[in-house]
């Protein structure tokens, strides 16, 4: 085609290109608008409207059953009747209403005038002052005249307004009186159908109508949309953006629409109500209301993101859900998110970051179990964890070990504790997947030999003070089961001890093949004789009892283990290992020279000492020659939950590359990471195998994952109020002696109770103990144990408390119960007229002495001696206890005579429950004796 002159292209062709491009451009613009407008969360909110409709309709239906049509009919008929009555006075009402209209106009006009007068007064006042200040007297006088004129007008106006308003009120009252026959019934009908009206109103808001469409249409939806992003700004928790710590912004409720509304419990996610809305979180009355804590403070994840399902870093709770999500939401591993959401089963890990200093977090059962396990297995010995400092070493002292067991036993035990005691908490270092090569085994044997030689060389002499005589094993067995041993120990052959599941003390088996009998008897009678810092208390055993128990325990034997012969020390390997140690910072030849100069004994000692250091034995056991505060060998776990995932080495293990999976598999089999290229002997992983059960690992992983480095603002932390902080620190002492192994303290612990069918036969539960007993008495009791409930077979042990520990125990109880240390105790009881007689009548009438027999009758008492109550119990507690014993000891045999504040005795004091209780408390104080009961004799 011929082109026009001066043209390189055909214009018509250019126009066509332009048209095509413009049309494409138009489509792209429409595309971008739609892409911006259509968001996943909008679809969810629209569906939520439908669900809400269904739920409301259902509620309306249910409500319809409550609203009786005849009642509505009746009320409507009354209204019609009222209308008739009102109609009789319609003329007068019309006149009055016209009057009202006129008055309202007057008031409106008057208000306008008054406003103007007031403004003039203000302006002229300023003018006058200003003129006077400048000395223009003449002008000032003029202004003053004007000002006064306005003031008068303003005052008049105010008066007029008052008159109009009074008239209006009067007229309105007249109208109301005339219309009363109708309005009263109308109000009744409104009240009757109020709930229905409310629901209908809510229902009308879920309607899709043109207004709704307009409000949510593109471009217009910036004004006042109903479908919009919801957010909670949480100042109690912060997102660490590294340059700045910013309040958390949680937009989860954009999709989890009904999370804070009851009534949607059965809906599928995201439309579900929070399952613990009232007891745990979200609900206004729960401990963690949504407006203060948001969602991600506990659940983790990226709460501010609403792009799509994956942006939030949702974590599936199991493989099944993972698959479901992959299909439904194209779920994939979160990308570039340091802390994804916790698995649902691990959410409790979040508690740790705010509940610092609280060993047990209420409602966090799995976490508490995990932390308990960490304490029981003594993880904190080798791994520093902030907040876990100052706890006692987990293992027994080895400073006098030579008097307790034989060398061969020790060697075999270290090599493989589980062969002797399958439930031992002593972990297994040797014979693991990473050190089972013959070459490594030989070196390990040399190390174990040297360790034992070292410990024996350092071990001090010890002579048991009691002699073992064969006693009655059956009686011993009965004693172990009944006097309280099973609060801490599981004992082979004693069924009750396994019910409690305690792991505080060692599992007792095969002692006949392990211990020197004299040592055992002495230990049972007086544990502090062997170990002054022992946590094992004295149960004040007689010689006979101690021998009976020892006889039973020694009958359990493990001859196979006893007959194991441990390979002797291979001196060549020993020297080789020593050279290895010494040549770390020296030439090999120099190291060899040094070793050659040492005597045989010195060499063994050197290797023993170095091996103890290598395996960290000193962290759990007291060993002479090792500073008790020496740094442990394990890495610190304080921030383990925030350790970047790339810092975990997965070696050749085929497991998910997540923090959680690494910790889990590490606990399951620590030696696994050494698989792969062969490693040198000195580079092997030294973490021993605890042979943990899968369930135990699950719980421990939660506790470890909770150790995050998240920044929590002060207002978000669980702050200790009253004496709680002292109590929380003092709890370590209670944990040290395992008080909660026997006593259920404020609802926690009391494992031993599982062995009792009747809980009242077990150790007493301590609910608000600081409120119950007097401080002086508790202090006396802790060092001078005396019988309170003589019918109980289980014994309160005599613990070797130091004064600091006694302080801890007492301040724990005081602090936890929010109580003062001392309370007012009257010297003499002051009675009101007739009160004492009433008290005695009640005391006899309620037959208190049928149980509290001590000192009153000769019957065997089944409740504490009331004569000692005066010096033991706090008066306020006595009253609270009488009012509702079940509150303090659920399941107690103490009857509730005043249940719900209503007395069973209607005669005394006219049945006034409060007066009756107070009188009884006074009576108990009156009959009380001074001084404390004599303590039970301790073993000397």
């Amino acid at each position: 085609m011929k082109l026009e002159p001066g043209m390189a292209y055909n214009t018509k062709k250019l126009n066509k290109v332009f048209a095509v491009l413009s049309i494409i451009f138009l489509f792209v613009v429409i595309w971008v608008v739609l892409d911006d407008y259509i968001r996943p969360w909008k679809a969810i909110q629209v569906k939520a409207m439908k669900i809400k409709q269904e739920v409301l309709n259902k509620q309306l239906k249910e409500l319809a059953a409550d609203i009786k049509p005849e009642e509505v009919k009746k009320l409507n008929a009354l209204i019609v009747e009222g209308e008739k009555k009102v109609a009789e006075n319609s003329k007068e009402i019309k006149k009055l209403k016209d009057e009202v209209a006129g008055l309202k106009t007057n008031i409106y006009a008057q208000k306008l005038l008054n406003g103007d007068y007031n403004a003039q007064v203000g302006a002229l006042t300023f003018d006058y002052d200003h003129t006077v200040q400048h000395g223009d007297e003449a002008k000032a006088a003029k202004i003053l005249t004007k000002l006064n004129g306005y003031k008068v007008q303003y005052d008049d106006g105010k008066e007029k307004l008052k008159v109009f308003e009074a008239k209006l009120k009067d007229t309105n009252e007249k109208i109301a009186k005339l219309e009363l026959a109708q309005t009263g019934v109308k109000k009744q009908l409104e009240d009757y159908t109020a709930k229905q009206t409310r629901l209908e109103l809510a229902l009308s808001q879920t309607e899709v109508n043109p207004v709704w469409l307009l409000r949510n249409s593109p471009f217009v939806d910036f004004l006042d949309p109903t479908i919009k992003i919801q957010q909670i700004v949480v100042t109690n928790a912060a997102d660490d953006r590294y340059f700045q710590k910013v309040p958390k912004v949680d937009r989860c409720t954009t999709c989890h629409v009904f999370i804070d509304q009851a009534g949607y419990e059965t809906q599928a996610n995201p439309y579900k109500t929070h399952p613990k809305i009232d007891t745990l979180a979200v609900g206004l009355n729960s401990p963690h209301p949504m407006k203060d804590f948001g969602c991600t403070s506990c659940h983790g994840g990226e709460g501010h993101r609403v792009n799509d399902f994956n942006a939030v870093a949702h974590t599936p709770q199991n493989e099944e859900q993972k698959k479901e999500w992959q299909e439904k939401y194209h779920w994939h591993e979160p990308h570039k998110i340091p802390q994804p959401m916790f698995k649902l089963s691990q959410t409790e890990a979040s508690c740790v970051k705010c509940h610092t200093g609280q060993f047990y977090v209420p409602q966090a059962d799995k976490l508490n179990k995990g932390r308990r396990l960490i304490a029981e297995y003594g993880c904190y010995n080798c791994h520093k964890i902030k907040g876990w400092e100052g706890l006692p070493k987990s293992g027994p002292i080895l400073t006098k070990i030579s008097s307790k067991i034989s060398k061969d036993f020790a060697k075999n035990w270290i090599w493989s504790p589980r062969v002797f005691n399958p439930k031992s908490r002593m972990p297994t270092f040797f014979g693991q997947a990473n050190n089972s090569k013959p070459e490594f085994m030989n070196k390990n044997v040399a190390e174990v030999n040297a360790i034992v030689e070292y410990i024996w060389a350092k071990s001090k002499d010890y002579q048991p003070v009691y002699k073992y005589n064969v006693g009655n094993a059956d009686n011993g067995k009965a004693l172990i089961g009944s006097i309280g041993c099973i609060g801490c120990h599981q004992v082979e052959g004693i069924e009750e001890s396994f019910k409690s599941g305690t792991k505080f003390g060692p599992h007792l088996t095969g002692l006949g093949s392990k211990l020197d009998p004299n040592w055992l008897v002495t230990w049972l009678k007086k544990p502090t004789h062997y170990n002054p810092d022992s946590r094992m208390p004295s149960l004040r055993l007689t010689d006979g009892e101690a021998n009976d128990i020892a006889t039973y325990l020694l009958a359990s034997k493990n001859e196979k283990f006893k007959n194991l012969k441990f390979a002797p020390l291979d001196k060549k390997i020993r020297d080789e290992l020593l050279v290895g140690y010494l040549s770390q910072f020296d030439l090999k030849s120099t190291a060899e020279e040094k070793v050659a100069k040492m005597s045989d004994h010195e060499k063994t000692m050197e290797l023993g000492s170095r091996s103890i250091g290598k395996y960290g034995c000193y962290s759990c056991h007291n060993i002479d020659g090792f500073d008790p505060d020496r740094a442990p060998i394990g890495p610190e776990l304080t921030n383990e939950g925030s350790k970047p995932e790339t810092q975990f080495g997965f070696g050749i293990e085929k497991i998910p590359h997540t923090r959680e999976a690494w910790i889990w598999h590490h606990l399951e089999k620590p030696s696994r990471w050494d698989a792969g290229a062969p490693k040198a002997f000195s580079d092997l992983n030294r973490m021993p195998n605890f042979y943990l059960a899968k369930e135990e690992i699950d719980h421990m992983v939660i506790a470890i994952l909770g150790q995050v480095s998240d920044y929590v603002p002060l207002q978000g932390q669980r702050r200790m109020i009253g004496g709680e902080e002292v109590a929380s620190k003092a709890f370590k002492t209670l944990a040290k002696y395992n008080c909660q192994g026997c006593h259920k303290i404020d609802g926690v612990g009391g494992e031993i109770l599982a062995a009792y069918e009747d809980k009242n036969e077990g150790p007493p539960q301590l609910m608000q103990q600081g409120f119950r007993t007097q401080t002086e008495w508790l202090n006396y009791f802790l060092t001078n144990v005396h019988p309170i409930r003589p019918w109980l077979k289980v014994r309160m042990p005599s613990f070797p408390f130091t004064s600091a520990e006694r302080n801890d125990v007492i301040s724990y109880f005081q602090g936890n119960a929010h109580q003062q240390t001392y309370v007012d105790l009257p010297d003499t009881v002051e009675w009101e007229p007739g009160e004492r007689e009433g008290a005695i009548k009640l005391f006899n009438g309620l037959a208190c002495t049928s149980c509290h027999a001590g000192g009153f009758t000769k019957d065997t008492p089944t409740a504490p001696n009331l004569h000692n109550a005066k010096q033991r119990l706090r008066p306020d507690w006595v009253e609270a206890w009488l009012a509702n014993p079940q509150e303090f000891v659920p399941g107690t045999v103490m009857p509730s005579f005043w249940e719900g504040g209503v007395s069973t005795d209607t005669e005394v004091f006219g049945g006034d429950a409060k007066k009756q209780i107070r009188a009884l408390r006074k009576y108990v104080q009156e009959v009380g004796v001074n001084g404390y009961p004599a303590p039970l004799p301790k073993n000397q």
Partner: protein, 357 residues
């Protein structure tokens, strides 16, 4: 096969391969600049590309939103290079026959109106470009990463794609050289080009034969030392800036043995088996001598064997600037080979003065 590709992709082999291909291209311009070649090359690229894309790892690297511009870069660079050569070969043939270049024919010298020939078509390009950018922005979401953390940098930490060639240079040079001196020379050199250029031919039309030296030098710097390094830096550098083959999973824990040593250490310890002298100038004397030889004493030799005719035509100042620029450019491949063959870290290493070459 994939193993082999991974192996051959390592910088040493792939860079050498690039050099060979480049040499072939310059020597056989008339082959490369033909439609036949373009067809076969497209076919080859389509087949290998399809095979590459069938690999999960490669596909995940290629389709990362970050890397889209580089894909565009590869195709546009390939096309435009070929296109210019094609045009140049056509014109070269005409010039050999004594004709004027196509751009110089009377019908192509005719003047046309700016409106609508220029302005209207520019509008088309604006609209088409906007369409493309909008569609791109919708289809590939912004590749956002975790919040910036000064104590925990992302690994690998990569510069914007257009700077990845510079970042790749950091492997071989001190940051001061790779980040400041060499880019500075590149900039100054590009500015200086019009003043150095003495060849009046090739203005306004494609050609190769008439500007063989200028075009070869530029394409070498652009293709081999800039675009190629960007490709390496983008696709083949993973965590810890370690090399990963195109089909290799970016395992965070990959360890490579790279113990680089300085020239001084090679000379004093390896060669003379003696201790390294304390005086830094004595210590670095070999490197200093090498540098002087490279930049100063080599110039007369270069002139004698190659540059005499340039010197005659350009005059002294322009000639020496040209030689300096070429030597600076050659420093990069030189250093790369020294690194690969001798694990050489620095020729001159004076960390005392922050001066390393």
């Amino acid at each position: 096969m994939k193993e082999l590709v991974n192996y051959l992709s390592s910088p040493m082999y792939s860079f050498t391969g690039t050099l060979v291909l480049f040499y072939f291209m310059i020597q056989k311009v008339h082959v490369v600049g033909s439609k036949k070649f373009a067809k076969w090359a497209t076919l080859f690229l389509a087949v290998t590309g399809a095979w590459f894309m069938s690999d999960d790892v490669f596909r995940s690297i290629i389709t990362t939103p970050d890397n889209i511009p580089i894909i565009i870069l590869i195709f546009s660079v390939l096309f435009f290079t070929w296109f210019s050569l094609y045009k140049a070969v056509e014109n070269d043939k005409r010039i050999d026959q004594g004709l004027e270049p196509i751009e110089g024919t009377p019908e192509n010298r005719e003047k046309v109106w700016a409106w609508p020939n220029l302005v209207y078509t520019e509008l088309f390009v604006i609209i088409a470009g906007t369409i493309f950018l909008i569609a791109w922005a919708i289809v590939f979401k912004a590749p956002l990463e975790e919040p910036a953390n000064p104590t925990w940098a992302p690994n690998p930490a990569k510069a914007p794609w257009y700077f990845l060639g510079l970042q790749e240079m950091l492997v071989y040079f001190d940051p001061w050289m790779a980040g400041v001196v060499l880019p500075g020379i590149i900039l100054v050199g590009l500015i200086a080009l019009p003043f150095i250029d003495f060849n009046p031919k090739g203005n306004g039309y494609y050609c190769f034969k008439e500007r063989k030296f200028a075009i070869s030098m530029f394409l070498f710097g652009w293709l081999a030392l800039w675009v190629f390094l960007i490709l390496i830096g983008t696709f083949l550098r993973g965590p810890n800036w370690t090399f990963y083959g195109p089909f290799e999973y970016w395992d965070f824990h990959k360890v490579v043995a790279e113990n680089n040593i300085n020239l001084s250490e090679i000379m004093w310890i390896k060669l003379f088996n003696t201790k390294v002298p304390g005086n830094i100038f004595v210590r670095e004397i070999f490197g200093i001598i090498f540098t002087l030889v490279y930049f100063v004493f080599s110039v007369p030799l270069i002139t004698k064997f190659w540059g005499q005719k340039f010197l005659d035509k350009m005059g002294t100042i322009r000639y020496y600037i040209l030689v300096f620029l070429i030597l600076s450019m050659a420093l990069l491949p030189l250093k790369m080979y020294l690194r690969w063959f001798f694990t050489l870290k620095y020729i001159v290493a004076m960390p005392e003065f922050e001066l390393n070459l």
